[in-house]
Symmetry: C2
Subunit: 500 residues, 2 copies
């Protein structure tokens, strides 16, 4: 039976409406999602790279010669190369003996170690200057990251900290940094080293709000993200960090000479190879990390020159927190605390104080409350920069901003002009911090280093920093708050007083 003309018209209209509704609510969104997924034309690809634009901005243009002047370098080139050549020769002799033994005993493992003077870790060490860990336009950083991601691991070991503890727990101290001792030193075929921190938390997990900062786990992705953030802020005070899938069996268990480390390996009920830290988890395996069955994500942080070659001192942060349940430090109860700090060495030197402001801003952006100490190279004295090491307790909670991390800034009302200009730049849509971070992190070998909420939290926190500084400016005036650093290029001598 066929309808009348009017009926047909009505039916067509009705069906058309259904089709349009369906198209609008179901098909169109699906189509858009498909197109978005398949064509690979995300915003960052459609536009020119925001990150490249940022690094081309006048505030980021190379001012210094790529190779710093001799007197501003941390290491002496000739001395360093010579030392390295000696180590190479020593290893070659050792390998010859190994080869000789291997002819008699086929089970002996012989590593063919290859060397040359242009290896990334050596170049990285040579580029460290009074200004930063690497020059703005350094090509070495990317090489170093690729190197850490690819190089054959020939040895794994516990860190010196863990060795000192030797599995013993000091249970009197509730502040024993938990999780610290799952980090390992990995040595590469070319004698370079990196600090390995394994993945212990899934990206979408947030630190419970009841956790104290000192019991939070260390996050490998926070370590990676902190390096990228530090580079974007142009501090260049975090040693380069790369993500890598490490084979816990062939790249740790089989290449460690350390029996204590071998002892903490086990096969889990799910048949994955796992290891745990002997202290402070003496009786525990639930805090173990496991491969799948062998591969495990982790961060690799490039090692700095040894203490013998470039001594670093560790200085207690004047704004450090009380590592107890109830204790309060003076800065938490005394709003004029900065006046005291300003009168205390080494903070009588404005440069050092301004460096503390940079560190506070950096830690506030990552949400890291665990900055009890900072390090710096003794060679540069007060002209040197503060190292922004150990950032694995950042990025724990995207939904919460710990304003007290900014205490140095709102108590002293100071910020470097360079830092201030860059922070403002990163708050503009053209150079939005979350966008450049997303792009920068996408260069790592591991995927989704930070989840979107963590990236967006960076923008929110940046706004907070700007507001805090603006409030200071309103109170004390621009000139007293935003401080222009004078560049001073003298070879540092002991006892010399410096001004900013």
């Amino acid at each position: 039976m066929w309808f009348s003309r009017k009926g047909r018209l009505l039916l067509i209209s009705l069906l058309s409406v259904v089709f349009l509704v369906d198209f609008y609510f179901h098909l169109w969104p699906v189509l858009m999602r498909r197109i978005g997924r398949d064509c690979g034309c995300s915003e960052s690809r459609e536009e020119t790279s925001k990150l490249q634009q940022l690094f081309s901005h006048p505030l980021y243009l190379p001012q210094d010669p790529l190779t710093p002047a001799l007197q501003h370098r941390l290491l002496d080139i000739h001395e360093t190369n010579e030392k390295y050549m000696k180590r190479v020769a020593h290893l070659h002799r050792k390998e010859e003996i190994q080869k000789h033994n291997a002819a008699w005993n086929s089970s002996t493992h012989v590593t063919e170690t290859t060397f040359n003077l242009s290896i990334p870790w050596l170049q990285f060490h040579l580029e460290i200057s009074q200004d930063a860990l690497y020059p703005r336009s350094s090509k070495t950083v990317q090489k170093l990251i690729d190197w850490m991601g690819n190089m054959t691991i020939i040895k794994a070991d516990l860190t010196q900290d863990a060795k000192k503890l030797k599995g013993e727990c000091d249970c009197e101290k509730i502040v024993k940094p938990s999780g610290t001792h799952l980090k390992l030193v990995l040595q590469f075929q070319d004698l370079g080293k990196a600090m390995f921190k394994p993945m212990r938390q899934r990206r979408e997990e947030e630190t419970p709000e009841d956790f104290f900062y000192f019991v939070d786990v260390q996050r490998h992705n926070a370590e990676i993200a902190a390096f990228h953030l530090d580079r974007i802020l142009d501090f260049r005070r975090v040693p380069p960090v790369a993500g890598r899938l490490v084979n816990v069996t062939s790249e740790i268990l089989k290449v460690t000479p350390n029996e204590d480390l071998k002892d903490v390996f086990f096969v889990s009920p799910a048949k994955n190879v796992c290891f745990f830290a002997r202290c402070p988890y003496s009786c525990k395996t639930e805090y173990a990390v496991c491969g799948n069955p062998h591969l495990l994500e982790g961060s690799l942080s490039a090692y700095l020159p040894s203490h013998f070659d470039a001594f670093r001192i560790s200085v207690q942060n004047p704004w450090k927190r009380a590592y107890t349940f109830t204790g309060k430090e003076e800065w938490e109860v005394n709003p004029s605390y900065c006046d005291q700090v300003k009168q205390t060495e080494p903070y009588t030197n404005m440069k050092r104080l301004l460096n503390m402001m940079d560190l506070a801003i950096f830690d506030f952006l990552t949400g890291n409350m665990d900055r009890h100490h900072y390090e710096l190279f003794t060679k540069f004295e007060d002209d040197g920069f503060l190292l922004h090491m150990d950032n694995a307790r950042g990025f724990g909670r995207h939904s919460y901003d710990e304003i007290t991390i900014l205490a140095p800034v709102y108590q002293c009302c100071l910020v470097k002009e360079d830092t201030w200009l860059r922070l403002r730049l990163l708050s503009t849509p053209e150079y939005r911090l979350s966008d450049v971070m997303r792009e920068s992190l996408s260069q790592d070998r591991l995927q989704n280093i930070l989840t979107e909420p963590h990236l967006l939290a960076l923008d929110r926190r940046l706004q907070t920093v700007l507001r805090v500084v603006e409030a200071c400016v309103q109170k004390y005036g621009n000139g007293s708050v935003i401080i222009k650093e004078k560049r001073k290029r003298t070879v540092p001598t002991h006892g010399q007083q410096r001004t900013v």
Copy 2:
């Protein structure tokens, strides 16, 4: 412009197809979901209570007199009441002194303790018989659950286990039961006691597959769910358990005389009141449990009569697991292991062996691998039942069934006829295990004791039990596998041999 007749027909056909596809794939499922959500007409509401139907089924009808015959009871009524009255009198004298002191010192806390002989915990103790912890038709169980959920808590303390350890860790043992020591004994106004296990894991969290069974946390909801399951299976070997929101400040911290317990309380960064176990978490607070800011969910398990009144022995499970990383117990490698067990006291007694099968089935359904020991009242000797205590490590993973928990059943090929009939009944749609469990759990004061995936896992595991038994029947015949228990009603005497 209007199309030709053919064109119109084509358009109508096309639009009709689009409509039908849309209706089938989008509108119909949405409609179904809406209807399901809005009308509140879930299966259990439409029908009469499945749980009531189950308990009215001939397999569940009361066979025994409500009050068991004197000689089958665990406790002597007169003796028990007399003891209780003496304790009451003692407490009243103590209270008089307190009142007297309070007149002099207003800060002294005086509790007006009220008593009578019909209090639920006393009735519960008096109903324990040779058959089970409570009769099928007991009215006391619900009263006991209400009592635990409401009664004023006058004292909190560490358990005897925790007191023995006194905060020391035996780090040689990797099997130290983690999480055990967050449990507390709570005492009520009428001198009754319950074991409190706090919530340590969110309902939707699954135990990671790399965890060994002995490091898994204890789940308060598993403890509650296990009691309901045990009752539904008609074992009645789990002491009643109730969920309750406990105020950790007023109902634990303020009423504990134990300084060790007071010492582990702290206020978290989120301003919640928390406490942690001193051992094995000596240096750690991340395993603390926290109120919100004071209220904390937990399970309360009714205390059994004291060891002085009714001695229990703890017997090692012949199918216990190796509490090490790599060790294997004999049952794991020897399929004929049951033959050995059958020749070993006390399992030469078929009744005991059949009780072990019940326990294995119960543990397989909950997924509890941590049954290293079981307890039983010495008074009833081999005629007694096995207590199904400590079930907090069940319900860890809904997505995985650990078939080896059923080893006693598939190695011995035995099951009690009563149990078998009930398991089959619970596999029918009319009495589906997940449905009666859902209904039973909804009677607890806490919400969503088990998530849906955990409830559905019960049905899946029940099918596995049935398949395992059916395979046995096929191999050895019905009569050798499904064993009818003869009821024996004699007063037990020492050394007397029993048959099933």
